[in-house]
C-alpha cells in the first residue's frame, strides 16, 4: 500500500475519533476533570506532608501517567474497539481497504491529541499549586508519547480479547490495568514495594512511564540516566504496535465469523 494512502487513512481515523469526542462533550469534561481532581487531592496530601519533600514536583507525573493517560488511552482504546463492534462499523472497516497499522496509528494519533491536552491541564494546575518541572520538556514529551503508544497497545490487547460489549469495558481495565498501576508505584513510592515485587514491576511498562517521568520532573534526570527505561518503553511500543495489528486482525477474523 502506498505510504501516502496509509498516512491519509491514519489521519482520517484520528480525525473521525476526535470529531466524535467533540460531539460527546461529557466524556471530554470527565477526562479533564478526573486528573484535575486527583491532582488537587494528592497535591493537598503531599503539599502538607513535610516527611515527603519534593513529592509535589513528582505528583503531576504520577497523576498524568496513572490517572489521565491510563483512562483516556487504555480505557479509551477499549471503549473505541467495543463501540466499533456494537455500531457494526467494524464490519464496514473490514470491507474497506483500511490497513490495520493505519487503524492502530490513527487511534494513537487521536489519543495523543487528548493526551497533549491532559498534559497541559495537569501541568498548568500543578504550576498553580506550586509544583516545579525541573527536567527537559522534550524528554518528558518523548516519555508521554511512548506511554500513549504503550497504553493503546495494551488497550488493543484487552479490548479485543476481553471486551465484546459496552458492559465489558470496565472489566479488563479494572482487572488487568489497575494492578499494573499499583505495581508501577503510581499512588505511592516504589521504595515501599518488597524486593521481589520490585523485580516484577520492572516488566510493567507503567512502572517505566512513571519512574522516568517522575525522575525528569522531580530531579531533572537526563536522557543518559533514563536510557534503560526509555529503551524498555521504545521496545514495548514496538511490541504494542505488533500487538495492536495482531489484535485488530484477530478482531476482524472474529467479526468475519460473526
Amino acid at each position: 500500500m502506498a505510504r501516502s494512502m496509509m498516512v491519509g487513512q491514519t489521519v482520517a481515523v484520528a480525525r473521525r475519533i476526535l470529531t466524535e469526542y467533540l460531539r460527546q462533550r461529557r466524556s471530554l469534561i470527565f477526562w479533564a476533570a478526573f486528573p484535575a481532581l486527583m491532582l488537587l487531592l494528592f497535591g493537598l496530601i503531599y503539599g502538607n506532608n513535610p516527611s515527603m519533600p519534593g513529592s509535589l514536583d513528582t505528583t503531576p507525573a504520577g497523576i498524568l501517567i496513572g490517572a489521565a493517560l491510563f483512562f483516556s488511552c487504555l480505557g479509551g482504546t477499549v471503549s473505541l474497539l467495543v463501540a466499533e463492534r456494537e455500531r457494526r462499523t467494524l464490519r464496514r472497516l473490514l470491507i474497506s481497504p483500511l490497513h490495520p497499522a493505519a487503524y492502530f496509528l490513527g487511534i494513537v494519533l487521536a489519543l495523543s491529541v487528548i493526551a497533549l491536552v491532559q498534559t497541559i491541564i495537569v501541568y498548568f494546575l500543578a504550576y498553580l499549586m506550586g509544583s516545579h518541572y525541573r527536567g527537559s520538556v522534550w524528554l518528558g514529551a518523548v516519555i508521554v508519547a511512548l506511554s500513549v503508544f504503550s497504553y493503546v497497545g495494551l488497550g488493543f490487547f484487552f479490548g479485543t480479547r476481553f471486551a465484546k460489549r459496552a458492559e465489558d469495558v470496565n472489566g479488563p481495565v479494572a482487572a488487568f490495568g489497575v494492578p499494573l498501576l499499583v505495581l508501577a508505584g503510581t499512588w505511592f513510592p516504589v521504595s515501599l514495594l518488597p524486593e521481589f515485587l520490585l523485580q516484577v514491576a520492572r516488566f510493567d511498562p507503567i512502572f517505566h512511564m512513571n519512574e522516568s517521568l517522575k525522575a525528569v520532573a522531580g530531579r531533572g534526570a537526563g536522557w543518559g540516566e533514563l536510557a534503560g527505561s526509555l529503551m524498555f518503553l521504545a521496545v514495548f511500543s514496538g511490541v504494542a504496535l505488533a500487538i495492536g495489528i495482531a489484535s485488530y486482525r484477530r478482531m476482524l477474523v472474529e467479526e468475519k465469523r460473526s
Binding site: 487513512q9 482520517a12 460531539r23 464496514r92 470491507i95 474497506s96
Partner: protein
C-alpha cells in the same frame, strides 16, 4: 458481459454444508436478486463475494479477477445493519470512508456532493446520523457503499426494518441507480421489492440456486393465469369442487389457492363454489411470491 461469476462454490461450517455447488452469474448493469429462506446461504455467499470468507471449493470472479483484497475497490457493500458513525453527520461519514479508499480531496468533495444530491441528503448534511429517521439512515448507509464509485453494489436486505413509505422512497432511489447502469446484487426477504427492482432473480434452496430467471420466466413456474384465494370452513368440499373443475390446488398460509388455467371473473369463481360454505374469495394475479413458494415448498406453504 458477466461481471460477477460464482462457480461451484462449496462452504461448510463444521458438519453443516451451507453452500453446495452454488453457481450463478450477474451481467454488467443487471440488478440480480438473490432470494431464499433464512439459512439458505445468501449471507455466506455475500461474505465470500466480499472476500470475508474463503470458499472450501469453487471460484468467485469479479470483473474477470478472482475475489481478493483488491476487489474491495470494485465492490461497494451495504450491510444489512446501519453501520455508520452516529455522532457524525452524513457528510462526515462519507468523507471518512472516502479517505479510507484513498480519494484525493478534490475527488472526495466532488463525490460527497454528488452522493448528497443523488440521495437527497443536502438538507440533512449537518445532522448527526443518530438524529435521522430509519429511512434516512438507510440512505446514508447505501451512499457510503457508493463513496468509491464501485462497479458493483451489493445490498444486503437494504429495506429491512423501515416503514412502507421509506421503503418506497428507497426503491425509487435504487431505480435511479439501476437507470444509471449500476450493477446491483440484492438480497431481500421482500418479494415485492425483488419483483419491483430485479431484472433477474436466483432463488436459493439448500445452498444452491434452485431456479433462476427473469420475472416472467419465474412467474411461468406457477401453472396458472390467476389464483383464487378461498377461505372456507368446508375444506373437503372446496377441494373436491376445484378438482372437478380441473383447477390445481396450493395452500398459502392456511388459505386454499385455486390455480386458474385461464383468466375468469370473480363472479364466475364465486358461482363455481355455489352451495359450499365459503367465507371469502379473492382473485390474485400470479406474483413472485407464488413462484417463490413453488420453488421453495414445491407449491404452497401447507
Amino acid at each position: 458481459m458477466t461481471i460477477v461469476r460464482f462457480q461451484g462454490i462449496r462452504k461448510s461450517f463444521g458438519d453443516k454444508r451451507v453452500l453446495d455447488d452454488l453457481s450463478f452469474a450477474v451481467g454488467r448493469g443487471e440488478v440480480y436478486g438473490l432470494l431464499g429462506p433464512n439459512g439458505c446461504g445468501k449471507s455466506t455467499a455475500i461474505n465470500i463475494l466480499c472476500n470475508l470468507l474463503d470458499p472450501d471449493a469453487g471460484t468467485v470472479e469479479i470483473a474477470g479477477k478472482p475475489a481478493s483484497h483488491e476487489i474491495k475497490r470494485i465492490v461497494g457493500i451495504c450491510p444489512q445493519e446501519i453501520a455508520l458513525y452516529r455522532d457524525l453527520n452524513p457528510v462526515e461519514n462519507l468523507r471518512f470512508f472516502s479517505q479510507l479508499y484513498g480519494l484525493t480531496k478534490t475527488d472526495r468533495e466532488a463525490r460527497v456532493a454528488d452522493l448528497l444530491s443523488v440521495f437527497s441528503l443536502e438538507r440533512y448534511r449537518s445532522t448527526a446520523v443518530s438524529a435521522l429517521s430509519g429511512g434516512w439512515q438507510r440512505r446514508v448507509n447505501i451512499a457510503v457503499a457508493l463513496v468509491h464509485s464501485p462497479q458493483i453494489l451489493v445490498l444486503d436486505e437494504p429495506t429491512s426494518a423501515v416503514d412502507l413509505e421509506a421503503r418506497h422512497e428507497l426503491w425509487r432511489l435504487l431505480e435511479t441507480l439501476k437507470a444509471d447502469g449500476m450493477t446491483i446484487l440484492l438480497t431481500t426477504h421482500h418479494l415485492d421489492e425483488a419483483e419491483q427492482l430485479c431484472s433477474r432473480i436466483g432463488i436459493m434452496k439448500n445452498g444452491r440456486i434452485a431456479k433462476e430467471g427473469t420475472i416472467p420466466e419465474l412467474l411461468a413456474l406457477v401453472p396458472a393465469k390467476a389464483i383464487a384465494m378461498v377461505e372456507t370452513s368446508d375444506t373437503q368440499a372446496t377441494l373436491e369442487r376445484a378438482a372437478k373443475l380441473g383447477w390445481g390446488i396450493r395452500h398459502y398460509a392456511g388459505k386454499i389457492g385455486c390455480l386458474l388455467p385461464q383468466q375468469i371473473s370473480l363472479r364466475e369463481v364465486v358461482h363455481a363454489f355455489d352451495a359450499i360454505d365459503v367465507s371469502a374469495i379473492s382473485l390474485q394475479r400470479v406474483s413472485l411470491e407464488h413462484a417463490y413458494l413453488e420453488v421453495i415448498h414445491d407449491g404452497g406453504t401447507g
